[in-house]
C-alpha cells in the first residue's frame, strides 16, 4: 500500500500532496518537512530509494519537480518507480508537454487525474487509455453541466 505522494519543487515548495492514511495536520507538515530535506539533500546520481522510519521512500526528479512516493516495507520498489512514471505520463498526455506551471495553475485537475489512477493507496487502472478516457468524460460532464445549469447572468 502506498502511504503518501508528494510533489515539490527544487526549492522545496509543495505542489501536490495526497495522503492515503489519516494523519493530523501537524504530522503532515512534519512529514513534508522531513521529505523535502531528505530528498533535496541527495546527490544527483544516487539511488532512488530511501529508508525513512518503517517506510520505503521512492523519489524521482522530473525537470523541476520531485515526485516522492512512500510505500510500505513489503512493497516492490521498482514497480513504485513505474507508478510515478505512469502518473507523469498521464499528466503529460492531459496537459500536453506538462511542466511545473501546469500543475501549479491547474492543481485540481492534477488531483482529478491522480484520483482516476490511484485509490486508497493502490492502483485502480493499469491502462493509460482507460484513465485518459475517464478524465475526458468527467471533464465533458463538468462542462456540459455547467453550461446547462449555470448560465452566468450578465
Amino acid at each position: 500500500m502506498m502511504r503518501f505522494l508528494l510533489l515539490f519543487s527544487r526549492q522545496g515548495k509543495l505542489r501536490l500532496q495526497k495522503w492515503f492514511t489519516p494523519m493530523s495536520e501537524r504530522e503532515k507538515k512534519k512529514i513534508i518537512r522531513d521529505m523535502t530535506t531528505m530528498v533535496l539533500a541527495r546527490q544527483p546520481r544516487s539511488c532512488n530509494f530511501l529508508h525513512w522510519k518503517d517506510l520505503k521512500v521512492i523519489y524521482k526528479r522530473y525537470a523541476s519537480l520531485y515526485f516522492c512516493l512512500a510505500i510500505e516495507n513489503q512493497e516492490n520498489e521498482l514497480i513504485a518507480l513505474e507508478v510515478i512514471h505512469r502518473y507523469v505520463e498521464l499528466l503529460d498526455k492531459y496537459f500536453g508537454n506538462v511542466c511545473e506551471l501546469d500543475i501549479i495553475f491547474n492543481f485540481e485537475k492534477a488531483y482529478f487525474i491522480l484520483d482516476e489512477f490511484l485509490i486508497g493507496g493502490e492502483i485502480q487502472e493499469t491502462s493509460k487509455q482507460m484513465v485518459n478516457r475517464s478524465i475526458e468524460a468527467s471533464d465533458m460532464l463538468q462542462e456540459t453541466m455547467e453550461e446547462y445549469m449555470s448560465k452566468p447572468a450578465f
Binding site: L14, C47, F49, L78, F107, S127
Partner: protein, 786 residues
Amino acid sequence: MSPSVPLQEMIRAIRSARTQCEERGVIQRECAAIRAQFRQADNGGRSHNLAKLLYVHMLGYPAHFGQMECVRMIASPRYSEKRVGYLGAMMLLDEKQDASLLITNSIKNDLSHSNQYVQSLALCTLACMGSAEMCRDLAPEIDRLLRASNSYIKKKAALCAVHIVRKVHELGELFVPAARSLLSEKNHGVLHGAVVLIIELCEQNPETLERFRKTVPDLVQIMKGLVLSGYSPEHDVAGISDPFLQVRILRLLRILGRNNEGASDSMNDLLAQVATNTDSTKTVGNAVLYETVLTVLDIKSESGLRVLAVNILGRFLLNNDRNIRYIAMTSLQKIVGTDHNAVQRHRGTIVDCLKDQDASVKRRALELSLALVSASNIRSMMKELLLFLSSCPPELRAHAASGIFNAAERYAPSQRWHIDTMLHVLITAGGDVRDETVPNLIQLITNASELHCYTVHKLYRALLLDISQQSLVQVACWCIGEYGDLLLKGDCQETEPVQVTEDDALDALETVLQSHMSSPATRGFALTATMKLSTRITDNVDRIRSIVSIYGSCIDVELQQRAVEYNALFRKYDHMRAAVLERMPVIEKNSPGHTNGESTGEAVKDVPTAKMKQGEPLLLQQPANQVHRSDHPPGPAVDCLVSGLSVHAAGTAGGDLLDLLGGFEPAELSPVLAYDKGGVTLTLSCEKQSDTGLTVTLTASNSSDSDLSSFTLQAAVPKSVQLHMKAPSGDSLPARGTAKVTQMVVLNNPNKVNLKMRVRVSYTRQGSPFQDTVQIDSFPGLDSQL
C-alpha cells in the same frame, strides 16, 4: 456582487508576491473574500472559491473554515461543485474531524446515483478518508456495487472494499464471495482490484487464505496469459504486458504458496517461465523479475528454481543501474542466512560494491560482506574490509569496525594476523571502536607471548606517528610499560630492528601524558606505564621519579592519587617495587562466569600493575598487595579479589610482610595433598557449610633441612565465587616438620560454577625468596558441582 478573482488570477498574484509578508497579505485578503462568499447564498462561483481555498491550504495556511462548505458542495446537484466538494473533503476532512460524519449521507446517495462519474467520486472519497463508522454503514452498498455494475465502477468498488477491510477487519467475510467471482473478469482494472482485495483478505484471516488457495490454478492461468500473450496496446509497458497486474498476481501467489507444498508445486513452472521469459533491459522487466525472485525465495520452491532466483539476483548485482544493485543486495541480505552457499558465489561482486559512490549501496554491501565472511575467505575479505574502512563514510565506521572485530575474533588464522588486524583497525578508525576493544586487545596480546617483542615495536612506532586515537594510545602505553625491556633490547625477528633508547621510550610516554588530546583514562595508562618502566630500565629511574612526583599535584584526582602512591612506592617501599611491577600473568579469556569489575578503578590504584580500567578478569594478585593495605584504607567492596585477599590482614610491622597470627580450626575431612616441592607440602581439606558455602583449610609443612620464614599463601578463585581468607596461624615453617602453618579460606559459590582455586606459595629460604603456584581443580569430599 462582483465575481471574485478567478483561481488562476489569485495564484498569479500569490506567486508574484516578492516577500513572505506580501504573500501573507494577499492570502489574508483572499481568505476574507472567500469567507464572505461562503456565507452568501448559492452563486455560480462556489466551486472556484473552494478551489482557491484548497490552493491556499496546500501552501500551508489554515483552511478549516472551508469544511462546512465542502459538506454543502458535496450535497449540491451540480457535478462541478460535487467534484470540488469531494476533493475538498479528501483534503480538509479526515476521520478525526466532526464534519466528516455529515457527508456520510451524501456519499450514500451518490453511490446509487445514475451517473457513474458521480458514483466514482463517492467511492474515491470513501476509500480515501472513510472512517470506521462510515465503512460499516456503507459496506452493503459496496458489496452490491461489486456484483452488479460496470467494470468502471467495479474496480473502484473493489479498492473501496480493500479500505473497508483495512478499517474494519470483521467486514472481510462480507466480501469473500464477491472477491472470488471477480477473478473471472476480463477487465484488467477489475482484476487488479480483485487481486488486491484477495491479498488483503488473506493477510487478515488465515482461514480465508486456506479458502483462496483453490484459486491458484486460475491465477496461474491469468499470469500465463499475460506473459505469453502478444503485444497488447492497452496494457503494454516497454514490451511487458501489464506489469502492475503481473506484480500483484505474483504477490498473491507468494502469499498463497508460503508454507504450502501443493500450492508451491503448481506454481513452479509458471515462475520458471516468468523468470526466463521476462525481458530485463528496462526497469519494468526488472520489477517483474524482482517480484518473481521474492516469490520463489519465499515459497517452498524446488532447489533448481531457487538457484535460478539467486542467479537473477547475481545478474542484478552487475547491472549498471544503481537501483537494481541496491535491491539485489537487500534481497541477498534476506537470504544469506538460508542460502549461504548460493550467495557466496557472488561474493566478488558484492565486495566490489563496497567501492560504489552511493552511500546506501555501500551500507548494504558492508552488511552483506560481513555476513559472508567465513574461515576460508577471511584473509582476502579482511583486506577488502580494511581498505573499505580507510575510505568509508563516517556514519558507517563504527559498524564496520565492530564487524571487523567480530569476524577477526571468529576466524583469525593466526595470532599475529589477529593482532595486526586489530592494530590496523585502531590506527584507521580508533575513535569509532567500542570501549571493550582495549581490554580485549590487551588480553589477546598477553596471550600471544612469542609476539610480545613484535607487538611492542609495532605499537611504539604507531604511537610515534599519531597520539590522537585514544584506544590505540592506551594499548600502546600499556604494552610499552609491560614489555619495555623487549622494546629497549632492540632486536626482533619479525620487524626491522630499530634502536630505541630509554629516553625515547620515556619521551613517547611523556608526550602522551602532557598532550591535550589524551583523555584522562589514557593519561592514567601512560603514568602507570612510566612507573612500570622504572623496573625495566636501568639509567633513567630518576627521570621517572621526577615525572611521578610532578603528577602528585595534578588536578585530575585519579592521576594525583596514582602519582602519590607511586611516590610512596619509591620512597618507603622501594624494595617492593620490583615485585609489584613485575610482568603480569596471562589474562584468561572472559567467560560467562566472570564479571568485569567496573569499580576496580578505585581498589586497583593500590596495585599498579592491575590495569583493569574496563575490567579484565584478574585471577591472581601480586604479592605485595597486602603491604599497601596497611597504609591505605581498603577500597570499596569490589567483586575483584583484592578485597578477598586483604580484608583480614593485620597491621604491618616494619618492612616485613604482615604478621599473620591467628587461630586455626582442625580439618573435618581427610586432607588431600595439593602441593609438594622442595620439601614444602601443602594439604587441603574441605568442609561444606551450606548449599553454596565451603570452608577450605590449607595446611603447610616443611620437611626440608632449612627453616622457612615469611611463609605466605595467596588464593584466587573464579570471579563469581567469593573468597574470604582468614588469618593464618603463623608465617614460619621450621625445618623437619616440627610445626605447621594452617590457613582457613571461606568460599561462597552462589552461581554454582565449577570451583577451582589457584594458590601461590611464597617463602624465604636462607635469605632468598621463593614463589610457586599450584592449581587446585578438585576439592575432596565435594561433588563436582558445589
